[in-house]
């Protein structure tokens, strides 16, 4: 497995744990409020952004994307 994929899977696993017990329970309180939102709400929205940027990075860094952009055979195997 390429290191790019390992990094992706590890980060994905961390994000997944961050929206359930145990990690979310550490950030489940009301204070500190962030941009007016309670911490519990801001945290889950932050994780939504985190997963968005993670997949965006994975897409951009896909070597197949640069080689065969037009032939449409690009993909992860």
């Amino acid at each position: 497995m390429r290191s790019r994929k390992i990094i992706f899977l590890v980060l994905l696993f961390i994000i997944q744990l961050s929206i359930i017990w145990p990690v979310y329970s550490l950030f489940s309180g009301i204070h500190p409020m962030i941009l007016g939102f309670p911490l519990s709400f801001a945290w889950i929205v932050a994780m939504l952004f985190a997963s968005f940027f993670l997949l965006l990075w994975y897409y951009w860094s896909d070597p197949a994307r640069h080689q065969t952009r037009t032939s449409d055979k690009a993909g992860d195997h």
């Binding site: 994000i15 997944q16 929206i19 409020m33 929205v45 997963s51 968005f52």
Partner: protein
């Protein structure tokens, strides 16, 4: 002119525009099953993005989302939570599914699974599972639409007529245009819903409290409100603090099932390229973000309008209490209709396509299975399913909400099969059947007898605990599928 007539006219204009947008694109696709079910595999990023997004956001999001935030507080974050990772699997299997569909002519989820696992029984089983799950889902969307129109007209239009009008429009464009009708209307409906949700979600806290921060500060300081309204995992349906078991397992099951919902999964066959498919998965969270203003609508009502029941009516309730311009109220009601219809159309279309391709066609002799005839059967089934759902929505008194609540657990049981289709060569047809049957049975058992669960976890988790070992164990005990078949999938 009376206010409700203005609002009704706006809803009428919305319905007319939707109908036009639904019928016109259907004229451009071919007169074939692939045209009807998969839009000739020609959907670009814009359309696919909105089809996936708007199909997910149903009247549950528009009415139920604020209702959850209003009555269960932070528990509503679960709805955002499962979308954080739920669509990511599509990034990986979507392009493979698309390429195989193009090569072998698949247009539904059961077709591709049937081919990989070499099992017609599996196809029939998946068709039954899909339709059992889809009919209550569609019924709830119809109820939502009927409810909106009745509320708007102050009772002048009864629920049966409201649901009838809205879903006649859906029936017409699904009947004529198939998935392209779904695609274009969902793009229009999706944009419309997003704009309204953001406007309302920011406007209500501002108007009622002077800002989002002020709103949450006041909720946090109010002695009348439980601190668990803002502290995850919020409250359960009984109004007591929800357990982390319950919250976490609900997020996990819903995230697992998210990408394999048959009506979302089969859109991979409609994508025009791998790039479209991948970018749809990448961009999905930008659609999910629109739950933030949706939940804020519910939070805004907690202090100002306590004790509204049922909680799902909080959005229409707030709208009628505030002194808003009548055109805006009309737009919001039309937006709620859009939410209902943009999910209802996708479900109706998928249910009929699956019923014919994965159920009926397996039992028909070849001479009754031409492309033209199949398309006709799908259209007939579109009408039958509409009528059936309509019957449950306005005539029957069967409590269907329970069925729908169980559906996520049931759908999640498909995920191990989809995963093994591409990533475990040793998985066999018997293994897939055993896993699916075992998983679904256990899920239904614990749905019916929740008191027997050893831990207060979502019943779908117990289903998966049985599903995965069965799939693995039976696969290892049975003969592997042929090399050539497996290689098609591992090299896809």
């Amino acid at each position: 002119m009376e206010d409700w007539i203005v609002i009704l006219v706006i809803c009428g204009i919305y319905l007319a525009v939707t109908l036009a947008m639904g019928i016109i694109p259907g004229m451009r696709v071919s007169d074939s099953v692939t045209g009807f079910v998969a839009g000739d595999r020609s959907m670009n990023l814009l359309i696919l993005y909105f089809v996936m997004g708007a199909s997910v956001f149903s009247s549950f999001a528009f009415l139920g989302g604020p209702g959850w935030a209003y009555s269960r507080g932070a528990a509503a974050f679960y709805i955002i939570g499962y979308g954080v990772t739920g669509m990511i699997p599509i990034y990986f299997f979507g392009p493979k599914v698309r390429r195989l569909g193009e090569r072998f002519g698949f247009v539904t989820q059961a077709e591709i699974l049937q081919d990989r696992f070499n099992s017609r029984t599996l196809s029939v089983l998946l068709a039954i599972l899909s339709i059992v799950v889809f009919i209550p889902y569609l019924t709830l969307q119809m109820k939502g639409a009927g409810y909106v129109i009745t509320t708007v007209s102050e009772g002048a239009i009864p629920q049966w007529m409201g649901a009838g009008i809205a879903y006649l429009v859906v029936l017409l464009y699904v009947y004529f245009s198939g998935v392209m009708g779904v695609g274009w209307t969902n793009t229009f409906q999706g944009l419309f819903m997003m704009a309204l949700a953001w406007f309302l979600g920011l406007y209500l806290p501002y108007k009622l409290f002077g800002g989002v921060g002020a709103m949450f500060t006041q909720i946090a300081q109010s002695p009348a409100v439980s601190e668990f309204m803002l502290r995850a995992p919020g409250l359960n349906a009984e109004g007591e603090p929800w357990s982390w078991w319950g919250f976490s397992s609900a997020v996990l099951v819903s995230a697992t099932g998210f990408s394999v919902w048959p009506h979302l999964f089969m859109r991979a066959f409609a994508a025009d390229s791998d790039r479209t498919m991948k970018l749809t998965a990448v961009l999905y969270p930008t659609f999910q973000l629109f739950l933030v203003p949706i939940l804020m609508i519910g939070f805004a009502a907690i202090l100002v309008y306590p004790n509204v029941s049922p909680a799902d009516t909080i959005l229409p309730y707030v709208l009628t209490q505030l002194d808003l311009p009548v055109v805006l109220v009309g737009l919001v009601f039309a937006g709620t209709l859009a939410a209902s219809m943009s999910s209802g159309d996708a479900i109706l279309h998928s249910a009929a396509s699956i019923g014919v391709r994965d159920g009926l066609s397996l039992f028909l002799p070849d001479r009754l299975k031409t492309d033209r005839l199949e398309r006709r059967y799908i259209r007939i089934l579109v009408v039958i399913i509409s009528l059936l759902a309509y019957y449950f929505a306005v005539i029957s008194e069967v409590p269907i909400v329970n069925l729908l609540l169980g559906s996520y657990g049931g759908v999640a049981q498909i995920f191990p099969l989809v995963f093994c289709m591409f990533y475990w060569q040793r998985a066999t047809g018997y293994g897939a059947l055993a896993g699916l049957l075992g998983g679904v049975s256990v899920t239904i058992f614990f749905l019916l007898y929740p008191g027997l669960r050893p831990f207060p976890m979502h019943e779908g988790i117990y289903g998966l605990i049985v599903n995965i070992p069965l799939l693995a164990g039976v696969s290892l005990m049975t003969k592997p599928e042929s090399k050539e078949r497996i290689q098609r999938y591992s090299n896809a």
